[in-house]
């Protein structure tokens, strides 16, 4: 599937592969980025304006915007893990959503079993997912058997089926709830916001910031970025590429774990719940630019908005329809994503 007829003599471009985690390195073209951000902002403004006209109620639209952005933070966190894995390992992880479902069931199980506060299950779910991620990478995805893109797709697809149906076998299909003790609601300029939603959003942003700090400010983060930019080169300067791969996969999975715990009080927990999150996360990843961690957060917020606005635009349609429409438009017109630079 290579398209490298044009690549036999590469253009005299920098030898280092650009794109994955590109926004993490000091970038050129800040002007172009600003222009795109402005264009995106303009589109969002227009979309909101149309929603206002369509619904005729400022409050309805405002509620949608607030709900969309709050949910979008969670999507961003989920997508950050997915995009990190893609940027560093070039793996499109179809099992990300199923792993998220596993984490939710861990949270559910711990809350049921010990009566722990749901958010405290982060202490269990995140390390557990980190470990699962490491095992999955070492066991299934590293080495020659997991080399080609198709094989990785198939392995992660198989894994997601296995995990989902494993959950189905052990927990059954009945939906479960994780209640947040002392949950409350408040009005934000007229929009109703539940505490759980706000906490989830704030938690997602905080964890996202932590991830960003890890990538930008630590030696390990530097190693990750080096591997993402140029694996063989990183190896030459003494980075253990295989270990970085495993740890990156584990960190990406742990992000899904954290997001699962934060989202657990907001959703009904079912074995197949990961599917929808997975789809949405893919859209966010492509929107933000495959491999672009900061882009994933912005993409998450945008997709949260798109979901909510879709229900205003198209009465009775699933909110996912709008998400897919945006997805295909981005795939065709700007496959490098809004903020990506991979050509």
């Amino acid at each position: 599937m290579s398209n490298s007829g044009t690549k036999t003599e590469p253009p005299p471009a920098p030898a280092v592969r650009r794109g994955p985690l590109a926004r993490l390195s000091p970038g050129d073209g800040t002007g172009a980025l600003l222009k795109r951000a402005a264009a995106t902002g303009g589109l969002v403004a227009v979309a909101i304006a149309i929603a206002l006209i369509k619904s005729g109620s400022g409050l309805v639209v405002w509620q949608s915007v607030v709900t969309g952005l709050l949910m979008g933070g969670l999507y961003g966190l989920i997508a950050m893990g997915l995009t990190l894995i893609f940027g560093v390992l070039d793996i499109v992880n179809f099992a990300h959503g199923a792993l998220l479902a596993i984490a939710m069931f861990i949270a559910f199980g711990v809350v049921q079993g010990t009566g722990l506060h749901p958010y405290l299950t982060l202490l269990v779910a995140v390390p557990a997912l980190f470990l699962i991620g490491a095992v999955v990478h070492r066991g299934l995805l590293s080495g020659t058997g997991g080399a080609s893109l198709e094989n990785q797709l198939l392995i992660t697809l198989g894994l997601s089926l296995l995990l989902e149906n494993g959950l189905l076998m052990f927990f059954g299909a009945e939906p479960k709830n994780v209640a947040l003790p002392g949950d409350f609601q408040f009005s934000l300029f007229g929009a109703v916001v539940s505490g759980a939603r706000l906490y989830a959003f704030l938690g997602a942003i905080a964890i996202g910031a932590l991830l960003f700090w890890l990538l930008r400010r630590t030696r390990f983060g530097t190693a990750i970025r080096a591997v993402a930019a140029n694996g063989p080169g990183a190896e030459l300067v003494g980075v253990n590429v295989r270990r970085v791969h495993t740890l990156t996969f584990a960190i990406g999975t742990a992000c899904a774990g954290a997001a699962a715990v934060l989202a657990a009080p907001l959703v009904t927990v079912t074995p197949t719940l990961g599917e929808q999150f997975n789809i949405t996360a893919f859209v966010v990843v492509v929107l933000g630019g495959m491999g672009n961690v900061a882009g994933a957060l912005v993409g998450g917020l945008l997709i949260g908005l798109v979901e909510q606005l879709t229900t205003i635009y198209m009465d009775g349609q699933s909110s996912l329809l709008g998400v897919f429409a945006v997805f295909l438009i981005v795939l065709f017109l700007r496959p490098q994503g809004l903020f990506g630079r991979r050509s």
């Binding site: 007829g5 044009t6 036999t8 003599e9 253009p11 005299p12 471009a13 050509s343």
Partner: protein
């Protein structure tokens, strides 16, 4: 500058003011030359001079940002690679690109089957071409079983099977030991003599360039640095300067 065609016959290929940028980096700028029918044009230049990019633009793999490519009197700028190939201008790749799941003969007959013909005729023609490049014994081998020299010839055989009017060769000699180069050079010379094929070839091996070319085009940093006979060009001080630090006779990269 517009070096005119060396032969009296018509113009086979006219490249006029072609430019190509890659993300702001200029790969080709204002490249301008003509090739007469039956002419053999050598293209040389340091690594990264834009030689392969030029081929990509001529053959439609890349669309130029400026300029025109006229082939046999028709403007083919921006036409798709397959249409250009069917029109009679065929290129080979620097890196060998066999169809891995097919035999040598199948690789070649794929290229030969664009013209309507009987199954028998197709097979005969394909076998002829395979013989002609010296792969007769390997005809039924899987293409990936060939050694490097064989793959180079397969690349050539596929192009020949198209019966090109203009053939663009991207370093056909690279990776061959000197003893393997001679027969290929003979074959190329015979192509012009017997079939009247026009040849453009990118080559690093100066001996081959000197021997085969009617004219030589020197590219440097995406521009035409000089054009003329092999002797003129190699004694041009600008060319020598461009090659400083790089050995023009260097084998391959």
């Amino acid at each position: 500058m517009s070096p005119t065609a060396g032969t009296a016959a018509g113009t086979a290929l006219d490249v006029a003011g072609v430019g190509k940028d890659f993300r702001g980096l200029r790969a080709l700028s204002d490249v301008d030359f003509r090739v007469g029918e039956g002419e053999i044009l050598g293209i040389i230049g340091p690594n990264g001079a834009g030689k392969t990019t030029l081929f990509n633009v001529i053959c439609g793999a890349l669309r130029p940002d400026a300029g025109r490519v006229v082939f046999g009197g028709r403007d083919i700028t921006g036409a798709s690679p397959d249409r250009i190939a069917r029109a009679g201008m065929v290129r080979t790749f620097q890196l060998m690109r066999p169809f891995g799941s097919m035999s040598v003969l199948e690789n070649v007959s794929l290229a030969a089957q664009h013209r309507r013909q009987s199954r028998h005729g197709l097979r005969k023609r394909s076998l002829d071409v395979v013989e002609r490049v010296g792969l007769g014994e390997w005809a039924h081998c899987g293409a990936t079983e060939l050694p490097t020299a064989g793959l180079k010839r397969l690349e050539l055989a596929r192009a020949l099977a198209m019966r090109p009017k203009v053939l663009l060769l991207d370093e056909v000699l690279a990776g061959l030991v000197p003893a393997e180069r001679e027969p290929v050079l003979d074959l190329l010379a015979a192509l012009r003599e017997e079939d009247g094929t026009t040849l453009l070839f990118i080559e690093h091996i100066m001996a081959a360039v000197m021997r085969l070319s009617d004219r030589v085009l020197v590219l440097d940093q995406g521009r035409v640095l000089a054009a003329g006979s092999a002797e003129e060009v190699t004694s041009d001080p600008r060319v020598i300067e461009a090659y400083l630090g790089e050995e023009p006779g260097g084998d391959d990269d």
